[in-house]
């Protein structure tokens, strides 16, 4: 028989997070700081709206780009939160999570051989999605001394004649890094000069703890060359509803919509009705959850300081990214030993790219009570290592 498989797919490495979760889930009484989704339930009024839509028998497809009401609410939300205007009719589409948006944005813009810039450490999907389009992914290794922000110099150095798209993943998973206005202004210059397009993954935008999130689309000339990706998973604790959206100039969005049409048809209808409610009446829920995350973030930073564990202060998402280089172990060795000896699962930084070596991703999508227990074990573990 012939080989049934596609070489391009077979060559993609499986995600590095998986391995730890498999081991952790086998382990009784292990606690996890590994999960990348909110610990909150979706606010009840949003769930209730989803239930109501089912009761009303709204079980049909929506139009491909999504419910008109939802697109209008998204446009209003963006105007309200970042002051950028999008035409709901031609520049906004509803996707199955932010991840679909990333995939189809790349597919709509990339020809084989084009280079896609991917700053790392970052979310693990960008690289495989780029590879599937036939692109050449070019990794930009972000540095701890820059608090894992992307600098203009790093961007410039990575560009070649073939560079077409920059993936901009801030606030960042796994580092928690953000890009402030000045940081964005610096790279915007290079983006313009090198004539790049941007896929700005702003899924964690509502979880910013140093003033309001700044979107690159707010800078002059950037909206025209950016696909803005966002969604409901992180801000409204709606991961399981699988709902995101993409905003882009019509010329790009039209092609993205074509792929979406043929591959997906439309995002889940129940989720879309719930999301209308989220955008209309959910601002307070978002603020409440952000405040809870922020308290945990401060709590962890304080705990690291007390145990002398090096960690830059992250101002976004729900991750901290402490440095474990002092222990002379790789991230993977450390995470594995920590899991085996203290039964706490964290994700090695290398799961998010080689530049994550020497770091751990610790999620604070857990209650303070949980974090206290886990931090107690971490302290015990590193004390043991230091006394060796």
């Amino acid at each position: 028989m012939r080989n049934p498989l596609c070489e391009r797919v077979v060559n993609i490495k499986p995600s590095g997070i998986r391995k730890f979760f498999d081991i952790a889930s086998e382990m009784k009484d292990a606690i996890s700081l590994g999960v990348g989704e909110p610990d909150f339930d979706t606010p009840w009024h949003i769930r209730d709206e989803g239930i109501y839509s089912l009761e009303q028998g709204r079980t049909f497809y929506t139009s491909n780009a999504g419910l008109k009401d939802l697109k209008i609410e998204i446009a209003k939300y963006l105007k309200r939160r970042i002051g950028v205007e999008y035409d709901y009719n031609h520049e906004i589409m509803v996707t199955v999570g932010g991840s679909e948006g990333i995939d189809i944005a790349l597919r709509a813009m990339i020809d084989p051989g084009d280079e896609v810039l991917i700053p790392q450490p970052s979310y693990v999907s960008y690289e495989p999605c780029a590879i599937l389009t036939g692109a050449k992914p070019v990794i930009i290794e972000l540095k701890a001394e820059n608090e894992f922000r992307l600098t203009a110099q790093e961007l410039r150095d990575a560009c070649t004649e073939k560079t077409k798209v920059l993936v901009l993943p801030f606030p960042n998973n796994p580092t928690g890094a953000i890009m402030e206005r000045a940081d964005l202004e610096a790279i915007a210059e290079v983006i313009e000069e090198k004539d790049l397009y941007v896929i700005s993954d702003e899924i964690y935008s509502e979880l910013s703890y140093k003033g309001d999130h700044v979107s690159i689309t707010q800078l002059p000339g950037m909206r025209e060359r950016t696909v803005l990706i966002n969604g409901f998973s992180k801000a409204y604790a709606m991961t399981g509803w699988r709902l995101g959206y993409a905003c882009a100039p019509e010329i790009i969005l039209k092609q993205m919509l074509k792929i979406h049409q043929f591959a997906i048809m439309c995002a889940p209808t129940t989720s879309q009705y719930a999301a209308v409610e989220a955008l209309k009446n959910g601002d307070e829920d978002v603020a409440r959850m952000r405040e809870a995350y922020n308290q945990r973030r401060r709590f962890l930073m304080d705990a690291f300081k007390n145990m002398g564990l090096e960690c830059f202060e992250p101002y976004g998402a729900f991750y901290v990214f402490p440095c474990i280089k002092e222990f002379g172990m790789t991230s993977e060795e450390f995470a594995m030993a920590f899991l085996e000896e203290e039964k706490v699962a964290v994700v090695p930084g290398t799961a998010f790219g080689d530049s994550g070596e020497g770091f751990l991703r610790i999620s604070y999508a857990y209650s303070i009570e949980n974090l206290k227990i886990a931090i107690g074990r971490l302290e015990k573990f590193i004390t043991k290592l230091r006394n060796k």
């Binding site: 995600s15 997070i17 998986r18 979760f21 498999d22 952790a24 889930s25 999960v35 990348g36 989704e37 610990d39 979310y123 693990v124 999907s125 405040e291 922020n294 308290q295 945990r296 401060r298 709590f299 304080d302 303070i368």
Partner: protein, 161 residues
Amino acid sequence: MLREEILTTIEKNSRVDVHELAVRLGSTDEMIAAEMARMEEEGVICGYHTMIDWEKTTLDKVTALIEVRVTLQRGQGFDGLAERIYMYPEVKSVYLISGGYDLLVTLEGRSIKEVSTFVSDKLSTMENVLSTATHFILKKYKDHGTIMAKKPEDERQMITP
């Protein structure tokens, strides 16, 4: 601002200590302690109570909500009557209510009989009290924003990426 942040945090858990509050709210121990003292002084913080599900204990407790309709004489307010009611230690709360009746009284006793005796002997016989309606609480599902029945479990699944 700090005041509201402290209150929303300790409303759910009054056992968070000053240092932890300072860390979580990005403040200092001194500022938190001073603000707490001020709020206690001003009566913004009126007490630090413990939420107990008495159902799960061996102590018998009966709680009743009593609607009280009253008639007032010229020049009289509700306050005097409310005071005569809330001075009883078995009375847990007294609210002045808009709508079909005037005062809502929460009463705690050891038995239905004890509660009934209070209503018939003490409450109904008060001057100005027109009528009462007593509702015994059969089950508490949620109290003070806390769901009594279920202990939440982390049901999140393993997923990558």
